[in-house]
Amino acid sequence: MDFILILASGIATGTVLLYATVGEIFAERSGILNLGVEGMMLIGAMSAYKAAAATNNAWIGLLVAMLAAGLVSQVHAFITITLQADQVISGLALNFLATGISLVLGEGLTSLRDVVPQLPKYSIPGLSQIPWLGGIFFDNHSIMVYIGYLFIPLAWYFINRTRPGLHLRSVGEYPAAADTLGIRVYFTRYLYVFVGGLLAGLAGATISLSISPGWFGGLTTAGQGWIAVGLVIFAQWNPFRAAFGGFTFGALRRLVLDLQGPVTIFGLSNPFHYNIHYGFFLKMIPYLFTIVFLVIGSREANRKRIGTPAALGLPYIRGQRGL
């Protein structure tokens, strides 16, 4: 087992979770819980793959994926913001709808393997020579990984230090007050649900065009969208913690795959090597850890009194009492 290799591919897989989680953070900061991340990622993965196959250009695929997922997210926005329906149930509905759309449109894409272009990979000259860290963070990674590095601080800065970011937070905390100050509550919410969709689409495209190329129906995302929704809670709506959570999870997923290889672990004979069926317990680990992360996140939030955005999940109706 090469730990540098595991951590490096952990970063790569974690990048997918990073985009999806930060996208959901944007939506939730504006007060809209969107449980449709998994479905939107599927839409992204499918349309990226389809468009890249059609145009022979991975970048066009990426763009199409973002727009497609963004478009689908507006179904949820319309139902929850304009029609004021329950956000949980609408998010679930979005999942069904998006999964159905991507299965229908993705018909026959699986056979296109090896024909579809992928996003490029780079090593950063200089930085990749740093012992340990270079191999983990800067060596032969997809370009989406590097964009991810830049994206984390930018997202944090945007949310916490800019005027539009302040508007975003105020709409999620106290929309009535934001409204009296002339901030367009409905528009802001539509916008950030759209942003969440764009980023979920980006995450999906990152899977199908780069991290594990291909289209495998529902298995393409394998529940990562749901893990992302869980990570938002662990991340306490902070992009840096989202990145930490995403990369940790990525490494974990990879470690689980690699643990079956070696004959011995720390000098003891490796039970996962000799009984391959124990591998099924290894596969549970990412999902178990999501639950553990949730417990940690909820306890910490309780202790520090960091709450969810106060208006999360509540429709805003102008002129009505309440938040």
């Binding site: 329906a85 949980v88 609408s90 299965l103 449109l105 529940g223 749901w226 869980g230 639950i291 306890r299």
Partner: protein, 377 residues
């Protein structure tokens, strides 16, 4: 002269009606809810037709096919009911949880654990091989409910104790349940290295209609099994609990107004755990009945997403346990006959569309749309 001036000042053509949306203050009429649900299903089917057309298929033929091969004869109707049985039970599981606004998305995992529990009775074995049928029915159903309840209890406890979001935890439990079953399917109970257990002996199976064919030949070949009785009984009991019992009142009150419930001295935490246990037990019973009534062995692909479809069914039935029975038959038909419709994602898409339009239609339940003639100022 006057004519010209009139022409000049004539107002531009305006939309002659005024559309006004206002909150419903009075109770909506009783017919409105089913009509809206029906409209949502019809619109979803229409859009599904457009999609099939775009994908190069013949929508009319596809729908006729679905209707014919799900409800067209006694034989296929029986198969539709077989598909509807697990849907009824998971639909009930979702209904009771959703009534308390407890989002149990984990019916799928609880279904798998129920299947595991029932298989355990035969394979471990808990009962001897030659035990009478009634014992198998009782014990397999019981074990299915027990394991499903356990799978529901875990997220319920985590929610009550640590305030862990149940949507995510129940969903994660689904993935864990599948791997758990796989361990036994591929490893412990694998028959000769195949990814399935041995076939259960016949006296362990749930009785089926075709078993009665000796006395009434009419039933020959009909696979509808005892699970249907269990599902309908469960629906009636749940209907009674939710609408007539004190506990049902507590559940509904927590769902509608948790703060009021708390002031009334109702323990929310206790009810979270209890409702998750009952919800899990119902989904577990679905898994047990599917294994003992249809599959007759433990294997991998035992569910085409029953647990998730249960969510839509619960919503279509407006969380009414008796309406769940009807909604399940509709979806049983869609799943059964939709298998041959191309492209293969169409049934999933139609389910998603139904759900989206159902939720959107709730707007017209909560609000009334008034169209009045515009009055000149």
């Amino acid at each position: 002269m006057a004519d010209i001036s009139v022409k000049e000042s004539a107002p531009k053509w305006q939309f002659p009606f005024k559309i006004k949306i206002e909150n419903r203050i009075e109770n909506p009429p009783r017919w409105l809810s089913p009509v809206l649900s029906l409209a949502a299903v019809i619109i979803a089917l229409l859009i599904g037709a457009v999609v099939i057309k775009i994908a190069g298929g013949d929508p009319w033929a596809a729908y006729v096919h679905i209707a014919k091969f799900s409800l067209g004869s006694v034989g296929v109707l029986s198969d539709t009911l077989v598909k509807a049985i697990p849907l009824m039970l998971v639909g009930l599981a979702c209904s009771i949880a959703f009534r308390m606004k407890l989002w149990n998305i984990g019916a799928e995992g609880q279904f798998f654990l129920g299947a595991f529990g029932a298989s355990m009775v035969v394979l471990l074995p808990v009962l001897p091989m030659e035990a009478p049928k009634w014992q198998f029915i009782l014990v397999t159903a019981g074990f299915g409910m027990l394991f499903g309840a356990l799978w529901g209890f875990i997220p319920g406890f985590l929610k009550a104790r640590y305030n862990v979001n149940e949507i995510i935890s129940t969903l994660m439990m689904n993935y864990i349940a599948i791997e758990w079953n796989n361990y036994f399917i591929y490893g412990v109970w694998s028959e000769g290295g195949f990814q399935m257990s041995r076939m259960f002996q016949r006296n362990a199976w749930f009785p089926r209609l075709t078993d009665l064919a000796k006395r009434w030949p009419f039933f020959g070949g009909l696979t509808t099994h005892f699970g249907l009785v269990l599902a309908i009984v469960a629906a009636i009991i749940l209907w009674w609990v939710l609408s007539k019992s004190r506990w049902g009142y507590e559940i509904r009150l927590i769902g509608d107004n948790p703060r009021a419930a708390e002031y009334a001295g109702i323990s929310i935490k206790k009810n979270i755990v209890l409702v998750m246990i009952v919800s899990g037990a119902l989904a577990g019973l679905a898994g047990a009945s599917e294994i003992m009534g249809v599959v007759h062995r433990l294997q991998g692909a035992i569910s085409p997403g029953y647990g998730y479809t249960g969510i839509i069914i619960a919503w279509l039935a407006k969380l009414n346990p008796l309406a769940v029975i009807l909604a399940s038959i509709l979806f049983g038909a869609l799943i059964l006959a939709g298998r041959e419709v191309q492209p293969s994602g169409i049934p999933t898409l139609i389910q998603g569309l139904i759900m989206v339009f159902l939720i959107a239609s709730d707007f017209f339940y909560r609000n009334r749309v008034r169209i009045t003639r515009k009055v000149e100022d």
